[in-house]
Amino acid sequence: MKAKIHITLKNGVLDPQGKAVQTALAGLGFTGVNDVRQGKFIELELTETDRAKAEAQVDDMCKKLLANTVIENYAIEIVEG
């Protein structure tokens, strides 16, 4: 099974890269973008077949390595197959 993990900056944490992207979009004429927040997307191929166990494992991975919970939130999606 697969795990899809979205890692995003917490609200209130300044995102200078997001701001730069927003400025660049405006420069290209894309108006109407109020805010840009940049994050990471990580995909894992897991050997675990039990959904709940897989989710618990990935949660532990996020806490210990994949995300820095001081500044980042993460969301896990477990996908069959």
Partner: protein, 229 residues
């Protein structure tokens, strides 16, 4: 005094740190490979600058999980002075020895220049040989030095006198232009609660010889020497 410098794949200030320690303390300096948790007894540890593991995932994140860092955390908890410089500072925040995180510089640019620091506390094994409020010149070279922490932690750092250095101008004044990376509260270096772990973005190990532009970094290593003597 015997000391250790941790070497990760991608460290590039490890030899400078070794030279600084050897030159100032006169003692043996062990170059400790990241995969080897079997570190000899040492009086002080430096986690040097560089780009450990290519800064993959987040600066310091992979290095923070290396076998040797688990040992460094243990030694720090035993009271051994641990100094993290630049990437080393990032590693120390990732392993939880220091609070906060180093984010991308506010202007997104890699900054490489001399900055002025004000010594904010001399109550630590790293700063006794400076005078309180002393302004020193030390180079920075980083892309991710923008110190961020939550409001409660910031207040704690201030109340407990744990901000070791702040970015200032040559006169010692805090001005917007003096802060090279947007760090919160102009913080250039912070101490842990027990005051035996210091993380800082600037590079004191690069200023220990007049030939290289100054000697303002020497007092840091002299302080460590005095502390463990």
């Amino acid at each position: 005094m015997k000391s250790a410098v941790i070497v990760f794949p991608g460290s590039n200030c490890d030899r400078d740190a070794q030279t600084a320690l050897r030159d100032v303390t006169g003692g043996e300096v062990v170059m400790q490979w990241h995969g080897d948790a079997d570190m000899p007894d040492v009086d002080a540890i430096v986690v040097p600058g560089g780009f450990s593991y290519g800064d993959y995932l987040r600066c310091g994140a992979i290095a923070g999980n290396s076998p040797v860092m688990r040992e460094v955390v243990k030694r720090a908890e035993m009271g051994v002075p641990v100094l993290g410089i630049c990437n080393g500072f990032q590693v120390l925040t990732e392993v939880g020895l220091l609070p906060g995180v180093l984010m991308r510089n506010a202007d997104l640019k890699f900054v490489c220049r001399d900055v002025f620091l004000r010594v904010e506390t001399t109550t630590s094994p790293f700063t006794t040989q400076y005078t309180p409020g002393q302004v020193i010149k030390v180079p920075v070279a980083h892309h991710d030095g923008n110190y961020v922490t939550d409001a409660d932690t910031l207040k704690l750092l201030q109340d407990q006198d744990r901000v070791a250095f702040r970015y200032v101008d040559a006169t010692g004044a805090r001005t917007p232009g003096a802060n090279p990376n947007g760090a919160m509260d102009d913080i250039a270096g912070v101490l842990n609660e027990k005051r035996n772990v210091l993380g800082m973005m600037p590079h004191p190990e690069r200023l220990i010889d007049q030939v290289l532009g100054g000697t303002d970094g020497r007092a840091m290593f002299e302080s460590v020497l005095a502390a463990v003597a």
